[in-house]
Every structure is written in C-alpha cells, then in structure tokens.
Amino acid sequence: MKVAVITFPGSNCDYDCYKALQLLPEFEPHFVWHREVALGPVDAVFLPGGFAHGDYLRAGAIARFSPIMDAVLEFGRSGGIVVGICNGFQVLCESGLLPGALLRNESLRFRSHEVHVRVETVRTPFTSAYEKGRILRIPIAHGEGNYFANAETLAELEGEDRIVFRYVTPSGELGPGSNPNGSRHNIAGIVNAQRNVLGMMPHPERSVEPLLGSTDGRGIFESLAGHLGGIPA
C-alpha cells in the first residue's frame, strides 16, 4: 500500500517515518513535498515531526497553509487514513482536522526523553494490534505538546472513546510525574470522530528497532498494515 510522507520545509522526522514504514513489507512509502497540490493514489498520509516553517508564530500554524494541505484535509475528511506525529499532530489541530490545540509545555522547556503511554482504546485502525491498557515506552521530543481543548470537546473525546494514548507512570497510573507537558486529561494522542485521523505527540517511528532501545511503537504500524490490508484497494 502506498503511503505519502509529507515533507514541509523544516520537517525533520520525515525520513524516520519513511524508514519505519519500510520495515513492514506491506508499505510503499514515498515523500510528497509540501508545494504539491495533489496526493495521487495513496492509502495513507503521514505528517511527520519536526519544525515545519520553523514553528514560528505557533507550531503548525503556517504549515497548515502549505499547498498540499487542501488535498490532505480532503483525504482525511473523506475517511482516508491520516497520521500526524508530534509536529504533524500540531498541524492537524491547526488545520481543524483534529480538535484542540497544543500549547507550550507547562515547564516551558523542550522535553526529550522516553515516556510511558497507555493504550486507551484499540477501536482504531492504529491500535488494533495492541491489547487495551498496554503500556508503551516511547520517546517524546517537543516544546509544545501541552494538549488543550475546552470542556465540551474533552467530554466528547472521553465519551466517544477517542483518546488513544494517555501519559502514565511506568506502573500505569495517571498520578504525579506521569504528565510530561501539562496536557489536559494526560492526553498523548487522539482520533477524530470518524476514527481515521490520528494525532500523537510521542514518536512511534523512533521505537521500532531493538538496536535503538524499544519496539513498542511497531504496533501502530502493524495495526495500520492490518487495517489497510483488510480494505480492498
């Protein structure tokens, strides 16, 4: 299946996503430069991490207006699989494909270390390969990952089982020390109402090889491969 990895000026995890996708034979990833206006025939779109347009003004604020974004919004709204990781998540929120916003970390400092996140729902094309409640060890690396949404939106996300990952302690609790950036409800990742668009701050593409310390992120790619495999092309 064809996967488009969008490269914005300032993206710096595009290659990492590309390589992580290549680890599964099902995927044929290719790069799409942000100035393109069409996606062509693809089964999924990845918005990688980095600092699109330098993250000036607000992370993702300028990138969301890149020419390719109209096609991405279109693709996502019509049910296409879209994954935004870190900066990609920020772009998705700015573009309105996902609700809420990502504010500066409460500490005001860039945070780069491994975190523990709990798989809150397996009812998504991105987590079906995990068992619910599984605790993943995955790195974060961001300065603006503090998820914010108003009360109604949060209630909606909770009510519709759309919170995919939550920051937890190594033993799986929500207690003190579990939340690296001040996110509401410890949110690390969410899906849209149709459940085809995922945004997450941690970097699963950095946790797919034993040599690099953790393979906990693989499940996301495997889930996706399974899901897309099930869809007749």
């Binding site: 000026p9 710096n12 290659y15 990492d16 330098g54 993250d55 860039f110 950095r206 690099l212």
Partner: protein
C-alpha cells in the same frame, strides 16, 4: 583589472581617514601595520583596514597559537582531510567518511547566552555540511561559574536553551557533551559545540574558489549589521561593560533557515553545479571569499552592491565584515548559475551572483564597479604574523600544586554523609536537566544517548557505528597543564572504549586566557605538548579544532581548558554496551590501578573549597593496555556494562552504574555490595580520581574469563563485588571506611540536584 591599476585604490567618500588611532582600534600592532603597507605597497583604504584586521585577528589568523598547533600529530592512513579545511574528515570504512569538528562561541555566549550558544551550533553545523557531509550528531562542552550566582544560572540556562532550540529545530540529535561548574568560569563561560557528519568517501568537497570565470554566489540569509567585527571581538578580553560595548554585534540565529540551507547545500553539492562552498562564518564574506581564493591560488572579485542586504545604507566595510548567520558563499560553474538558483528556490532561499573567480591571485572588492579593496589573497590569508610568546609558570600555581593534602586524607569511618553531599554537586550529579532539553533520538540512529560514557550513532545499511565524546578537566590543566591535557585525551579515549569503540581521531578546542601573559602562554604550550604526546601515543591524530583566547574577565583568566573531542569507530555497533548495571548477581570488577591521589578532585573543591595538589598522573602505557583489554572484553560480548572512573572517583563510577540513567526515564536503581582493599586512605580510595580505571559488570560465571583476559593485557583486575536487588542497599567498604546508603536515595539525589539548583527561580 591590471595590478598597476590595483596599486591605487581611491578612498571612499564618507570613510574615516586612516590614523594610528584607527589602526590600533582595529587590533593591529605597528609591525603588523607595517606588514600591511608592505603587502599593498600603499596605505590601506578603510575597507582594506577592516579586512586585514579581521583576517589577522586571533580568531582567523591564529597569531599566537599557530606555532604551537604545528606540534600536534595530524596524520594517519585513515585521515582524508586534516586541519585547514572547514572540518577534518576520516575514513571509517564501508566507503563512509566522517567529518567532524568542534567550535567555540564563548564570548558571544557571555554577552547573550541564548543567541550566542545557538549561533555556535549553527556555525559548527555549517562547517560540517559545507564539506559535503550530512550532520548526524552534535555534542556540547560547557563551563560555567558556580550556580549559586543568579547571573550564572541565567547564562547557563540560556546557553542550554539556545543549543537545544537550534539543534532540535534543525533535527540533529545531541549525543553527549560535558558541563563543569567552577568559580574560574564565572564571568567568562565556555560554550563549545561539536558536530559529526557522514558522507560517502567520494562526496567530499572543499572550500576552494577554482576555475577562472566561475561565479561566486551569496546564498541563504540576507546580510545585516550583525556581529560586525565579531572575529576581532572574539579575540579581545571581555571588558566589564561588554554587554553595552558589544550590543550591535549580537547575532540572532534562525535554525529554520539553517535547515533549508543544509538540505539545499547537500543537494547543490551532489548536483555537480558547484566547485566550492564555504560558510560565511567569522569575518563573514571577507574570510570566506579570501580563504577560498587563497586555497585555490586563484583570485576573486566581488561587488558588494550585489550582496542581498537586510538593512539600508550598508557600507562595503559593513557588508564585508558582517557576521549575519545562515549565509554561504558558493562557487558555481560558469553558465550553471540558473540551475543553482533553481535548487535554492525549491528550498525557498535566495542566491545572488556577487562576483567571479579571477586568475590574478587578488582579493578584489568593488562597490557598484568601483574598487574599494584590492589585496593579494595569499598574503592576506596566510601572511598573518605568528608569534612565539614568552611562557613562564605562575609561582602561585606551583605552590598550590605542591601543597600538602595529607590532612584531608585523614577522614575515616562512615563516609556516607560526605558521599551524599558530593551527590548534590552539579559536577557529579546527573546532567539530564541539560540533555532532556535536547532531541537525542531524531534521525533514529542513536544507539547510546547522553548519560553514559560516550554517545553512539549507527549507520543504516551497515553494521558500523561511531562513538563520540568531549572531555577536559580544567582543574587538572590549571594545576598541571601538560598532565591535564594528557588526562583529557586519555579520558576521551577511555570513554570511547567503554562503549566498545576504537578511538580514531581528535578535534580540539583550546580555551585559554590572554597569550600575552607569560603564565597563560606557558599553559598553552604545556597543554598542547601534552595533547600532542597523548594523541601520538594513542594514534588518534588531530584533524582540526578551534582556538579561543582572551577568556578573561577583569584580568582573571579561566582555567586552561583544552577540550578534547574524540571519535571512535565500532565495526559491529550491536556490540555497544552502556554504563548501567544489567542484572542482580552480576559480578562487579575494577580494572586498572587506584593510587593515593586526591589532588584537583571534586572532593577537595566541595569539602575544602580548594583546587590544589598534583592532579592524577597519567600512565599512557597502562592506559593503552586497559583500553585494549576493555575493547577485547566488549568484542567477545563478555561485559554487561562498562563505566570509566572520572570526576568523583570509584564511588561515583559505581553509583552511576547503579543508577543507570540520570533522567526522568531512568530505570530502577540497583543495590550493590562492594569491598575494596588498598592500604591507604578511604577518601582517596572512594573519591580520588586516579586515571586509567574502568568499572565493569558481567555474568558471575564469566568473571574468571574477564579477569583472565584482563591479565593477558597486563591489566590489574579485581573482582570487588556484586550487583544487588533493585532499590537495594548501596554498600561500599574498605579497611578504614565505608559507605552505606539506600540506592533509591542515591538515585533521587543524583537526579534532583541540578533541577533543584536551577529551578530556584522557576515555578
């Protein structure tokens, strides 16, 4: 344009008259000015004076260091590019070449820590990718005053944020570095940044302006009045009012533009449309253009009126000397300028043709067609006078070194309290507060993150990896520059072997005070000789580096700090190991010999408030044997962990292995039961910083093999204890003293010390 005509250059309307005062302001001595007159055969124009002043500054001209640098070993079969280019390059096998270099941004960081440190990272990244290599890792080596000063906290946190924000945005992982806090750096912090880049051996390109008729193009950011005379500035002592004085000099970095410049430059280089490329770094357009001409033996002619500027009314003097960041000088093949422009446009960058390569060996500058500077390139770039200064050791230092410390060695019995106090020292505590502000895993090649002995990067599609570290203990160098420099090289090599890498080559950053002071020049000479001796011995040639002098405030120099940046190769990166213990019951073995040494130790500084005594002696032969032994042990997969003993001594090596990781994501700490036997003071035994020691752990059933292999290499090895349970007791005992603490308590202190100091003024 003929040389006859070049002989006369009319002075430009509005430029100040050349006067002895003006010459002096430009940092040129009378003899140096005489030399300028000789080279030109006439008085310089104001513009030319600025050009000479920058090119002959300490920073560009290496006036006071060149003769010492010639002592360093620079050759080995694997060296592809030695000193003299933007960065050194070595062959690391499998057709891969590694470009690496370290650079200082001390003075800018003392004035504006955030921008100063950020632009320091920007500069070193450009040095790497202008060689044709893709940057794959950065390290940072920092020195600051004691953190009880709010100003120091401001400088330190600003510098760390600057380094992080820049490298994170460009997307280069930080894999290590060091930080050291001591009064000596109070007014003049040191901020050195190192970068590693990878390319195929045939992709190397050099900073040469060759091919008469080829076009010089200014690429990247526009030119403003930033950092004018930064090069000279970097060569002056910081005056008390430097903040004021150097205001217009502050350069602001734009990592986003840097990222575009990085991608565009690599694409340009691969495209074959250019023959040379160089960063407009220190002394900006002046040094890049004249050096590119100098290297190729050709000449260049540029018209400043064609340089894209950010501000109006800029003079040739300003345009030539501006140090605006994220700019490159590119030499495009004649007729291929459009292709070059197209590649840059894709990356949303500007490119302007500003001149051409000539055959007359001159560095000629026009303003709208009118000549404003016309200088023979080689004398300008190579003709800077170099000096050998008088060097005499400061008697006060001799007195300190010879001081009798037997009293402090007297402490005996329960040393747990001392240990707990030392754990709170920012020099010994976890550095996670720093490196958790750095992206360490972007590019998904990081095998060992900061926190261990050395960072490790793998190379995709091969089994290879490379390890890198920076090291230098300024106190050792202060007390004995020669031994201190040797120790720095030895520790760097030791850090590399502890992860399983073969030490391969060195870059270095000489941070010293004013070379005009005999005591300082003595330090420089001794340190360079010590470095040369150790580098030759370990067969780790020096392929480049940087010199930063005049690191003084109010006449007080920093410690002599010759920072060693060393890289090492792992043929099978999957064999790399870390410094943390791996399982309960493992044997703990100490390799190397402990001597009764306490001089220059962190223990002395924290408990007695003094920096005195003889620094630990370096036995190069023993070092090499130890390092070969450790490499053999790791190659044979006999070890679960290895960690070198450095600041804090044996007990801290043990504590760090027990805690395993300094960060928010650190594992559960291990307990341990260790017994060491030596017929001398437990203080020296626990906290002495004897060199040439490594703490390893292994499966108990393999301990015999480990000891045997060590013996084969003539390395003293002792099985000193066993790894205990998670959160167990940390117990180290010696005939005359002991330490007994809960490992969880150690982990807490170790991890919280630096944040506690820094967050005094944070929520």
């Amino acid at each position: 344009m003929s040389d006859a005509k070049a002989a006369t250059v009319a002075s430009r309307a509005g430029d100040p008259e050349i006067s002895p005062g003006l010459v002096a302001e430009h940092g040129l001595s009378e003899d140096e000015y005489e030399r300028v007159l000789g080279i030109l055969g006439r008085p310089p124009t104001f513009t030319e004076l600025g050009v000479f002043s920058a090119m002959w500054s300490e920073h560009c001209g290496y006036k006071n260091s060149k003769r010492l640098l010639m002592l360093l070993p620079t050759e080995a079969p694997w060296v592809i590019q030695g000193p003299g280019e933007n960065a050194g390059v070595i062959d690391i096998g499998d057709g891969l070449a590694l470009a690496f270099k370290i650079e200082s941004h001390n003075h800018p960081s003392a004035v504006e820590p955030y921008e100063g440190a950020a632009t320091g990272v920007g500069g070193i990244l450009r040095d790497i990718f202008t060689m044709g290599a893709r940057p794959v890792a950065v390290l940072d080596s920092l020195r600051f005053g004691d953190l009880d000063s709010p100003r120091v906290r401001y400088l330190f946190s600003g510098a760390v944020r600057g380094i992080g924000d820049y490298g994170n945005c460009v997307g280069i992982p930080n894999i290590g570095g060091e930080v050291f806090f001591d009064r000596a750096y109070e007014g003049n912090p040191l901020v050195n940044a190192m970068c590693l880049g990878v390319m195929k051996t045939d992709e190397i390109i050099r900073g040469e302006a060759s091919g008469v008729g080829n076009t010089l193009m200014a690429v990247g950011a526009r030119t403003g009045r930033d950092g004018i005379h930064g090069a000279t500035f970097a060569s002056e002592e910081l005056s008390e009012d430097s903040d004021e004085a150097s205001r217009p000099r502050v350069q602001v970095g734009d990592p986003f533009t840097e990222k575009l410049l990085l991608e565009a430059s690599l694409e340009l280089i691969r495209s074959g449309h250019i023959v040379g490329i160089q960063d407009m770094g220190a002394a900006g357009l002046t040094s890049s253009a004249s050096e590119m001409a100098g290297r190729s033996g050709s000449g260049v002619e540029i018209d400043v009126a064609r340089v894209p500027v950010r501000e109006t009314g800029m003079t040739p003097y300003e345009i030539l000397l501006s140090e605006s960041q994220e700019r490159m000088l590119v030499v495009a093949r004649k007729g291929e300028e459009e292709e070059v422009r197209r590649i840059l446009e894709k990356w949303e960058l500007e490119a302007e043709s500003i001149g051409r390569v000539t055959d007359d060996g001159r560095f000629r500058v026009l303003e709208d067609g009118v000549v404003v500077a016309d200088i023979p390139a080689l004398p300008l770039t190579e003709g800077c006078p170099t000096y050998e200064r008088e060097g005499v050791e400061d008697p006060a230092v001799i007195e300190l070194r010879e001081r009798d410390l037997s009293r402090v060695l007297g402490k005996e019995g329960d040393l747990s309290e001392v240990f707990m106090t030392l754990l709170a020292s920012p020099n010994l505590a976890s550095k996670a507060w720093i490196y958790e502000q750095y992206d360490t895993t972007v590019r998904t090649n990081t095998v060992q993150r900061p926190g261990g002995d050395a960072g490790v990067i793998r190379f995709r599609d091969t089994e290879r990896g490379v390890a890198a570290t920076t090291d230098c203990n300024g106190r050792y160098c202060f007390l004995d520059p020669r031994e201190g420099a040797k120790a720095a090289v030895a520790e760097a090599a030791r850090n590399l072997v502890c992860v399983g890498a073969v030490p391969t080559a060195v870059t270095n950053n000489l941070n010293f005070g004013s070379p005009l002071k005999p005591a300082i020049y003595f330090q420089m000479r001794e340190a360079v000789q010590g470095m040369a001796e150790a580098c030759s011995f370990f067969e780790t040639p020096v392929t480049g580096g940087n010199v930063s002098l005049y690191n003084e405030t109010g006449g007080r120099p920093v410690y002599p700090t010759p920072v060693i940046g060393m890289v090492g190769v792992l043929e099978d990166v999957s064999r790399a190991i870390g410094h943390g213990f791996r399982s309960e019951g493992d044997s703990i073995i100490l390799l190397g010999e402990t001597r009764e040494e306490i001089g220059g130790s962190e223990f002395l500084y924290r408990t007695e408030g003094v920096v005195a005594g003889r620094p630990p002696r370096v036995d190069l032969v023993a070092e090499r044997q130890l390092q070969r032994a450790v490499l053999a042990l790791i190659r044979d997969r006999l070890l679960h962990s290895a960690h070198d003993c450095s600041e804090g001594g044996l007990v801290f090596a043990l504590a760090e292995s027990a805690v395993g990781g300094g960060g928010s994501d650190g594992p559960e700490p291990w307990g341990l039961e260790v017994e060491v036997n030596a017929p001398f003071s437990p203080v020296a035994l626990f906290f002495g910083e004897s060199q040439g020691r490594v703490v390893v752990s292994c499966d108990p059933d393999r301990a015999g093999e480990v000891l045997a292999l060590a013996a084969e290499h003539n390395v003293p090895g002792t099985r000193i204890g066993t790894v205990g349970p998670h959160r167990g007791t940390f117990s180290v005992s010696a005939p005359l003293g002991f330490i007994r603490v809960q490992s969880s308590e150690i982990a807490r202190r170790y991890r919280e010390a630096l944040p506690a100091l820094m967050e005094a003024d944070q929520p």
